[in-house]
Symmetry: none
């Protein structure tokens, strides 16, 4: 089955709200094994909405619409479907009675304009909406389906789960989709694709890569009549991917880099402390984003000034010789904080967040160092971006460095 | 000018990501006075993408596309525009050189497939992207414009603001819209609306409120034939708003809470140091997000454990008496860090980020304290949310506390 989604509302076209209904329904359709080829946001305009639906009806078996079912003149989804199918909207006495009761139960009298929420066309059945005034429409004609639901997310989701999804699942017959994201750090998107090129021709499961803020996500997706089979297909493909880029995979699905490092610290019974300059607290904050981090995070120092670095144990002659923005000082910071907080691992960052340069070193220069029980390692990067992004990427590099160190991969 | 937006990527059709580029660009187009009639999300499919662009070109003067400019086989935006206009993609030696340098500066060799990011068609000019590998395309033919930008939001926004918006503003000519957001902290959205109710009937300028992560944004928008007139209309309305909620306004447009505090520290010649427990480094990180913060930020300590708090000058008997999660300990932390780092202002946070409780205190309990040259103030909050949100809101409360202290409003 081919599907198409519409979100209706001029507020979407003004950017006043973000459409969260479409990604929710996209996920839901994918789980049902229904192919979704187009999503559109259309304004409250009868001509454009009807025209868009007409095109969709030519190329899709299922049209799912959210929004435009309210009582005001701007709400035109029913009118558009009615125009598209050339069927008259007729008030349904039963629906009207329910609607008046809905208002009465809240102590209001129903405004007369709400009566249009009690209409149907001949091909439509009403979809109950016990938590709002707008029933949905389930329209079936010529073997094609149109579903119209309210735009309010809580009403829409309830209607989808209880009423629409079960009907579609029945129609669709068996067949489900299972998917898993393998999260990769330390390789670019094209490098990942090159490495797994031999696997990309597979059609079930499929694999696809996405560049994200926290690395590359390699998504494995399988279709099968039963969940177990789909999961097995994904697991088999995952094993092949791991055989190629395994050490670069830090997590699966919702697992973050800080979560995965947290698991390593807990498993190895080690602790960490940090001294940060260029990242200004973001490294500590990211580590402590992981629930349970108090078990292994000993604390940190944001040593933004030369004086604070020295007060925390960095040798001033080292700063004289190399400057605060140097590999040598980063290394000294890592060792100093490890010793001061009696941690197993010390991490440090120093650099230039920008926009101005420091000590003649350009914005984006970053030095990261680690001292893992006396085994030291430092790394230098040049991050051409805005201040917040320099900090963010420096933290990701630092977390990846500690991850590799804990895995013995340095 | 009529515009149409496309977000390209199969991950949108699978619901794996929410499209935030479209609402951002929708807002931006509205500010430029450009009418937006359609937004679509299309997958990585050459046929469907080209066909969608063909229809858009028949009904719109401006097509703005995000996504599909990556180096992989799935990235087909350039190919679709090339097919639509029947113009050949040709590698540009200059762009290729820049791209190779971009990789070289990060210590990588450029994978050969990236070379397609250095192509243009005859009608296209490259839009620079100094923070990523994909330049944009600005295509003008037959009086119609196609703009293609990367899907990565930070790259897209930079490109839009610096390159695309100025060109479109120039083309758009007379009749401009000018808008300013007044950012409010310490009041809820409905409270703000009630206070300024008498002004909301104005049609030019209009005022509208939006609840955002960093407070309430009250947006004043004016339309006029000339920029000066629109700006004057906005300034007059701004004065009326400030007369009502002035002390709650911390910034305008892009000015963040940390920027506004930074300006106060610089103006008053004061410095700050922080000791954080529950916020785990996020307070320091947020303060240092402001460019130039090294002038007034003396540094910070992330005192996640009892021991680190004591080592940094908190009296252990106070911890015995009240527990680490207490107003008293927060106050002692603020004073201790102020003295240790010889700062004018000391700030501290302690609390329970969750999900587990601490010392019998529930997740979401937060104590914030300030010591401004000996004048101390503490505040307690209960934030019912997930870990990251507890940290984020605690930081906003802390920054607002220091802001009010510097303004003498405590």
């Amino acid at each position: 089955m081919k599907a198409e989604l519409f979100s209706v509302g001029t507020e979407l076209l003004l950017g006043h709200i973000t459409d969260t209904n479409a990604p929710y329904l996209a996920q839901q359709l994918s789980i049902l094994g229904i192919d979704l080829y187009y999503i559109s946001q259309v304004g409250d305009n009868l001509g454009r909405l009807t025209e868009s639906l007409r095109r969709a009806r030519q190329r899709s078996d299922l049209i799912v619409i959210t929004g435009g079912l309210g009582p005001t003149e701007d709400d035109l989804t029913r009118e558009a479907i009615s125009a598209l199918l050339d069927e008259q909207m007729v008030v349904q006495p039963e629906l009207e009675r329910d609607l008046r009761q809905f208002f009465a139960s809240r102590g209001y009298e129903m405004p007369e304009r709400n009566v249009k929420q009690a209409t149907l066309i001949a091909s439509a059945r009403a979809i109950p909406n016990p938590i709002g005034t707008a029933p949905g429409w389930y329209v079936e004609r010529d073997g094609r389906i149109i579903v119209a639901m309210p735009g309010v997310p809580v009403e829409m989701k309830r209607m989808w789960e209880n009423e629409v999804a079960p009907r579609l699942r029945e129609r669709q017959g068996s067949g489900i989709i299972f998917s898993r994201a393998l999260k990769i750090i330390g390789m670019g998107e094209s490098a990942v694709e090159e490495k797994v090129a031999a696997l990309t021709s597979s059609t079930n499961p499929t694999i696809a890569t996405y560049a994200k803020q926290d690395g590359i996500h390699l998504r494995v997706t399988a279709k099968a009549p039963e969940e177990q089979t789909a999961e097995r297909l994904v697991a088999e493909m995952e094993a092949k991917v791991r055989a190629i880029v395994g050490t670069f995979i830090y997590g699966v699905d919702d697992e973050t880099l800080q979560d995965s490092i947290g698991s390593l610290f807990v498993a190895q019974g080690l602790s960490i402390a940090v001294m940060e300059s260029v990242t200004g607290g973001l490294l500590a904050s990211t580590i402590t984003d992981a629930a349970g981090s108090s078990a292994y995070f000993k604390g940190g120092v944001v040593a933004y000034t030369r004086e604070t670095k020295i007060a925390n144990g960095v040798d001033p002659t080292l700063i004289e010789a190399h400057g605060t923005v140097s590999r040598e000082v980063a290394q000294a910071m890592a060792t100093a904080i490890r010793q001061r907080l009696s941690a197993d691992v010390g991490m440090a960052t120093t650099g230039v967040a920008g926009p101005a340069e420091i000590e003649g070193k350009p914005a984006g220069t970053v030095h990261i160092a680690i001292d893992n029980r006396g085994r030291c390692y430092a790394q230098t990067a040049s991050i051409a971006s805005v201040r917040a992004e320099v900090k963010r990427r420096a933290v990701i590099s630092a977390l990846n460095l500690v991850r590799r160190s804990l895995l013995g991969a340095l």
